[in-house]
């Protein structure tokens, strides 16, 4: 079976992701930014598919593109856009952002310069069909044995539960 993961698709998807990311920060209209962000997220889902991680790609689409971004749009639509488009930025946070972006860029450049020596020569080569099953085993463990990441997974879900409860408590006056 010939691989689908050709360089053409890689460059197409990463180009889309970068273009979307640039549009997110350059558009004045918040809705346009959100739509560009959806393009970026979908392109990243495509990149996951190219890495033979279909489960992560599917979850990326459901959670980010289908769930979170819809909520983003939902909130943005309620805001009066005419004012926000005209308004100038009033906080002076851009040096911090620039610093963070530079640090991230430095990280990327160093990884790129060191190249292959950072990674295992060939990562675990799993058949594509076992991908979802492997994720399940890593998260929950096999019969009678705790998985590699069970603890971290449960802690993360507890954190999300606390966040949900916090949101409910803040939103509701009387419980």
């Amino acid at each position: 079976m010939t691989p689908v993961a050709t360089p053409f698709f890689f460059y197409l998807l990463s180009g889309l992701a970068i273009a979307g990311g640039l549009l997110v920060i350059t558009r004045r209209n918040a809705i346009h930014s959100a739509l560009a962000l959806i393009v970026t997220l979908l392109a990243v889902a495509g990149l996951y598919l190219m890495l033979y991680a279909p489960f992560v790609a599917g979850v990326q689409i459901i959670v980010y593109a289908g769930g979170i971004m819809v909520l983003f749009l939902f909130v943005i639509m309620l805001v009066s856009l005419e004012q926000t488009v005209k308004e100038r930025q009033f906080n002076r946070m851009w040096p911090v952002g620039l610093l963070a972006a530079c640090a991230l860029l430095a990280l990327f450049i160093s990884v790129f310069a060191k190249g292959k020596s950072l990674f295992v020569e060939r990562g675990a080569q799993l058949p594509e069909s076992a991908n979802t099953q492997q994720i399940g085993v890593m998260l929950y463990g096999e019969a009678g044995r705790m998985g590699q990441y069970t603890f971290a997974f449960e802690i993360a879900s507890l954190l999300l539960l606390v966040a949900i409860l916090g949101a409910v408590i803040m939103a509701k006056k009387r419980i």
């Binding site: 079976m1 010939t2 209209n29 809705i31 346009h32 739509l35 959806i38 279909p54 489960f55 790609a57 599917g58 979850v59 689409i61 459901i62 593109a65 289908g66 769930g67 971004m69 819809v70 909520l71 749009l73 939902f74 639509m77 309620l78 594509e128 069909s129 991908n131 979802t132 099953q133 019969a143």
Partner: protein, 440 residues
């Protein structure tokens, strides 16, 4: 060329698995044409059925019994003026219907019409379907916002709130069906040893799991499967914005909801997307709970004879439709005004009868000639027929609901979604898991 074609008919792999791009493309075209045709037919059936529910005749003018009405509607929509409001966000307004359409058509890449009759069999099939169909809400939201008008905006807000909240219950109901694929025991309460249970997310795999367990998941762990199916059946109506959950386009409150400002071709794209999505979610329900392409009672009424009898159904259905058309011909008024319509209806009945005879011929030929290609074709036809039959039942239910139930109020809708459906589906999921562990 012909050899390749013939060898493909006998293949047991989907084009995606066989990595056959040409056949995948042909499948895509067949599905695209078939779904568009089904949407037109659905349009006619819905108008006719609704009319008869309300003791009216419905469309009668264009063609015999209004059979050509969908075509007339399509032509009207195509040549209608395409208006973009002056204050609208042009680009978003333009792209919104396309996104809805794209999302609802992309889902069909994994719909299993038969064991090898699907564009592709992804191992994340059901996840892919849920993900892509959740993108459809983006089209609605964008349309409502880009119109820059009050009714569409309110419609879009309602729609996004509704679709996001019902997606949760829907997802949990789906998870409990996926859980059942890992049980491997046969029969209603059959569970094999827990340690060798691996489930599947692939759409074809889910149907094969039901085949292997000798039970539709609708009846597995009775009544747990039934409750999960009920949750899904309610949530899928809310997901596709159909009555009684059609608040995003409630005409008595919001004119037409999110597509108020749309006209002509763009409006028809929204309609196409809506009906396509309806067929898509119905096929998810059929795949997960109603045994996909399996014929009724494959175990109770097993054996070659019963297989043969059930494979006669596609042809007989078309013959029955032809008979209905011929009854219509006989009942047509004997007046020179109706001559063209009578001839047209008779021709339509003849075409249906011809298709029926052809299908019967293939099946009977496969039975008696023992040609491999012919029997594979007959098998494929039967599988696709049963899948489409079950989907068709759901489509009729959609019309029936619309004729029967009044529209919900928005707070009632939200209360049902979050306080009734979500706890029930969560409970069913937990109880299914517990029962699986206890019996395993």
């Amino acid at each position: 060329m012909l050899d390749g074609f013939m060898s493909y008919l006998g293949s047991t792999l989907t084009p995606g698995q066989a990595n056959n791009q040409l056949w995948a493309l042909i499948y895509v075209f067949i599905i695209f044409a078939g779904v568009s045709l089904a949407v037109m037919a659905m349009n006619w059936i819905e108008r006719k059925a609704l009319a008869h529910f309300q003791v009216r005749l419905g469309p009668m003018r264009v063609g015999p019994h209004g059979l050509l009405q969908p075509i007339a509607d399509a032509v009207k929509l195509l040549i209608k003026e395409d208006i973009i409001p002056a204050e609208a966000d042009k680009f978003v307004f333009w792209i919104a219907p396309l996104i809805g359409l794209l999302a609802s058509f992309t889902v069909y890449t994994v719909v299993p019409f038969g064991p090898s009759q699907a564009v592709s069999d992804m191992n994340i099939g059901i996840l892919f379907m849920l993900g892509v169909s959740s993108l459809a809400v983006l089209g609605v939201v964008m349309a409502g916002w880009a119109s820059n008008s009050h009714y569409p905006l309110i419609g879009a807000l309602r729609s996004s709130a509704q679709m996001v909240s019902y997606e949760v219950a829907m997802g949990l109901a789906v998870v409990s069906a996926i859980l059942m694929t890992s049980l491997h025991g046969t029969g209603l309460y059959g569970v094999s040893k827990l340690s060798d249970g691996t489930g599947t997310l692939s759409m074809i795999g889910i149907v094969q799991a039901q085949q292997e367990q000798h039970v539709w998941f609708l009846f597995k762990f009775f009544p747990l499967g039934l409750i999960a199916f009920g949750i899904f059946a309610i949530a899928m109506i809310a997901e596709t914005n159909r009555a009684p959950f059609d608040l995003p386009e409630a005409e008595s409150e919001l004119t037409a909801g999110y597509h108020t400002e749309y006209s002509g071709l763009r409006w028809s794209l929204f309609m196409l997307a809506e009906y396509t999505a309806m067929i898509a979610v119905s096929s998810i329900a059929v795949t997960l709970w109603l045994g996909g392409w399996m014929r009724p009672f494959p175990n109770w009424l097993s054996g070659a004879t019963w297989d043969f009898i059930f494979s006669l159904f596609p042809g007989l259905t078309f013959l029955a439709l032809a008979a209905i058309a011929f009854v219509g011909v006989v009942r047509m008024p004997r007046h020179s005004y109706f001559r063209v319509q009578t001839i047209g209806l008779a021709a339509f009945g003849a075409v249906l009868a011809l298709i029926g005879v052809l299908l019967l011929g293939i099946v009977i030929g496969a039975k008696f000639s023992h040609r491999d290609i012919l029997s594979r074709t007959a098998e494929g036809l039967t599988n696709v027929y049963w899948f489409l039959f079950k989907v068709g039942v759901f489509m009729y239910l959609y019309i029936w609901y619309r004729a029967t139930w009044p529209r919900y109020r928005f707070d009632q809708l939200m209360r049902v979604g979050w306080k009734v459906m979500l706890p029930i589906s969560l409970g069913v999921l937990i109880v299914t898991a517990i029962v699986g562990v206890l019996l395993g």
